[in-house]
Symmetry: C2
Subunit: 343 residues, 2 copies
């Protein structure tokens, strides 16, 4: 279908020189005169010749390609991570192959298999659910892999990771609510991201227990769900409001901003004033968190930075420099969805 592509042989024929001479001219080789080099380069450009990176990669054994798998492309959290990855990759001459796992561990393995066939130089995984199989498979593939906010059990010596400290973030959130005088503090968790949910729930428990509070089991609600999508998060937040209010909480720490926003919309619908009647705090600090009513107090995750740093570690690994693991610290962002407990 595509018309004949201009080859080195075509340029050689028209220039009346050998294949080797054209090849040397295009590689800026000093073995030919600068006049010949300039003439052939000009001719190649006029003929519309573009070097074939695919052919080159068979020689160099490098494709200058990074494979990136994310849970969901449309999610504002991953959008920023992808942005950071692409920025650093592109500045170093790498291209990014992007694929979405939809939170399915089988799909993740499938995508990684495709990346392997395409001989990517490295793989970045920003998808919370990776099976242990992956660690085992790495023994065969030997492709440098950096995980973003994900952890895999076993074989950790072949994997690197960059993550935000979920447990610390949760403690920041709950300590903020404690300082406002709240004691009956709920946790709205997330079923579809079990690893980070566990960490955030642990941080919640740590903070309460450090304050001498033993939370009632009814203060923790983890709605079902498997998609890890924005829509699922909104719906989880909307449905968790009633059971948490019935449990008697005066403040709620939500797994992420989208669940917190879902909860806010339910509060509006039921005439519950936030923060006067109920304090709500999120996690992530997505762009929209500052635009809802009231603007959401939340825990900031440096998302673009996560993507940038993971890519930098990958580039280090590809240049045989040691790759370090990094745990980034989240920060509290004060807005107006939290307030002192009214007596």
């Amino acid at each position: 279908m595509r018309p004949h592509e201009v080859s080195i042989a075509d340029i050689a024929r028209i220039a009346g020189v050998s294949h080797t001479t054209v090849s040397r001219a295009l590689r800026e080789s000093p073995l030919i005169s600068s006049e010949t080099r300039a003439r052939i380069q000009r001719l190649a450009s006029e003929m519309g010749y573009t070097p074939n990176a695919i052919a080159q990669s068979l020689h160099t054994k490098q494709t200058s390609t990074i494979g990136l798998v994310v849970t969901s492309i449309a999610d504002p959290f991953f959008g920023d991570v992808v942005k950071g990855v692409e920025e650093v990759a592109r500045a170093s001459g790498f291209s990014v192959l992007l694929s979405a796992s939809y939170n399915n561990p089988e799909e993740t393995l499938d995508i990684i298999e495709t990346f392997h066939r395409r001989r990517v130089d490295g793989i970045l995984v920003a998808s919370s659910r990776i099976s242990e199989d992956y660690g085992r498979r790495l023994h065969h593939t030997h492709i440098p892999t950096v995980l973003i906010n994900s952890e895999v059990e076993g074989q950790a010596n072949l994997l690197h990771w960059i993550s935000v400290d979920d447990c610390q973030g949760a403690q920041l959130a709950v300590n903020h609510l404690l300082q406002l005088g709240h004691r009956a503090i709920g946790y709205l968790g997330c079923h579809s991201r079990p690893a980070s949910n566990l960490q955030r729930q642990q941080g919640y428990l740590n903070a309460l227990r450090a304050a001498g509070i033993e939370p009632s089991p009814s203060w923790v609600v983890i709605p079902p769900g498997a998609e890890a999508s924005q829509e699922e998060d909104l719906s989880a937040g909307q449905h968790a409001l009633s059971p948490l209010l019935e449990a008697g909480v005066t403040a709620i720490f939500c797994y992420n901003d989208m669940t917190a926003i879902g909860m806010l919309t339910s509060c509006h619908a039921r005439g519950i004033a936030v923060p006067q009647d109920l304090s709500i705090i999120g996690f992530d600090d997505i762009t929209i968190a500052s635009c809802v009513t009231p603007p959401l107090t939340t825990i900031h995750q440096p998302r673009v930075e996560l993507g940038r740093l993971a890519t930098q570690v990958m580039l280090d690994l590809l240049q045989s420099r040691p790759g370090a693991n990094h745990t980034l610290s989240p920060t509290l962002v004060l807005r107006t969805s939290t307030a002192p407990l009214s007596k």
Copy 2:
């Protein structure tokens, strides 16, 4: 750095057969016995052999790769488009190379050049600013290209496009406001996306003039800006509120949902009740539009569908089927940020 990769020669040596036999076994050739085939396939799997798609693509002259350039990866509009592209591409065995232009026409050309070197089979452009140069360059590259919500002057015979009818969407929005009794209707435009801004402004003018209203020049505000980012949109909406109120409008049609949300936050800050004091309508119907206060009346763009359809047209072109251009119709989504004009 990477350990030795298992090759067909390695398998042949260990199996004690020829290179040709291994190659035939892996290609399921009937020229060797089914026992040998099974034995070699099992051995290849145990040794961790994965076929090299790069080497194959030099034979087939196809890389099964699509290059996708978007204005911004973190933007919720493009997130959904990318999702639709990846979904259809992957189902057909194609991988997606993703890059962001940050609304810079030079970057766009640069990215496309990289895609060409990587011998992508086709290019999708979801970036509103493409220079005419691109049409000219296509004469050299001959790479099938499909534009998503973008248009290029000239050389249109080499390009295909999928877009949502911006002018029609704007008319839907303004007619809705007219039906609510508003006559002094403002337009908050967008400087950084000139093509779609022009279409939406035209639809705005058409609708008003069809109703016998000649808009005052002060009803149209187009804030400066070059980034086409979410942050820029929010800020544009926040700053456009004052001049539009001073111009005496009772309703505002905003270029997109993010500018409308920026305007909503300014209304909250100034104690202006929406929709009682001012009706606001957006464009796009991003997920968050239903979660702000009040939920935003807007024009729905089928974003995931745009990505899917553009990819389908691309796959048709790659199989030498004729590729059609498509203009999709936007629809009005009624929520509560618009209300009848109070007397």
